[in-house]
Symmetry: C2
């Protein structure tokens, strides 16, 4: 069970977009920030756009910007946008083929194994939903007060 690395890129890119404020930033510049493949990062940003986390603008002076305030974007929003909303543990309802298995029972809700796994996954989601992009941004700024300025500088430079 491994998370796609696009999640990491998306989170850091969202953070940079938060520092860029309302300035639209191109995928190329965001990719150059961490030396990432521009086309592939673009793909992740598209997923964020479909989820309504970022807004995109085409043409010259176009790019991506946050569609909502950082306080209204949770880490769970970003993870779900990139990885999809389906649960990591998907109950295949194998108990239906076991002794005493009923076809009219939804074991995704009644199987106690499935319940236990879902409970753990819920704790994971709850923790992700409890932290917003603004929380991360503020924590970073507290440790590195000049991070916003450095980010804006880098994003202002032409992307090579």
């Amino acid at each position: 069970m491994q998370m796609g690395e696009g999640v990491e890129w998306a989170l850091h890119s969202c953070l940079n977009l938060a520092w860029a404020e309302h300035q639209a930033v191109t995928a190329r510049k965001l990719a150059a920030f961490y030396d990432l493949p521009p086309a592939y990062l673009n793909r992740q940003l598209q997923a964020l756009a479909r989820a309504g986390i970022v807004a995109s603008t085409s043409g010259p002076r176009g790019g991506f910007r946050l569609a909502r305030a950082p306080e209204e974007i949770t880490l769970l929003d970003v993870v779900v946008a990139i990885e999809g909303g389906r649960e990591a543990f998907r109950c295949q309802q194998i108990m239906r083929d076991g002794p005493g298995g009923r076809s009219d029972v939804d074991y995704r809700r009644h199987c106690l194994v499935s319940q236990a796994m879902s409970r753990a996954e819920l704790a994971w989601r709850r923790e992700l939903a409890a932290q917003t992009l603004a929380d991360i941004r503020d924590s970073v700024e507290e440790k590195h007060p000049d991070a916003p300025r450095m980010a804006r500088n880098r994003l202002a430079q032409p992307a090579r």
Copy 2:
């Protein structure tokens, strides 16, 4: 991010092994219980054996049995045995290539994004480690008191 379905099979099989008590059960019988591919389930049981969760015996009258008491087997143990212990979110330390990135800093520990993701994953692990196989077994028996007898009956039958 999706968990392998072998985890579900392993959990249910461990539960059946708990009801079989100290009787060795072959992979074929465990597979027949839920109509699963025997060879593939065997593969998962081998992983459990390598992790020390079950003990295996070759030859006639051989099979698998729990290596520890159900109270000493957590859901996390089973998940780690099948899926591996590496974290779902693996920090690639992309900040090293960003502005102000240092090569001598381990961003897996210092990057705040990575910390937030690890915190969520820790909550998930904690929840999984809090429930043992005995907890699940007892919960099932409470709802279906004849589950152990039915399981033992099915496991006693020759696997077709």
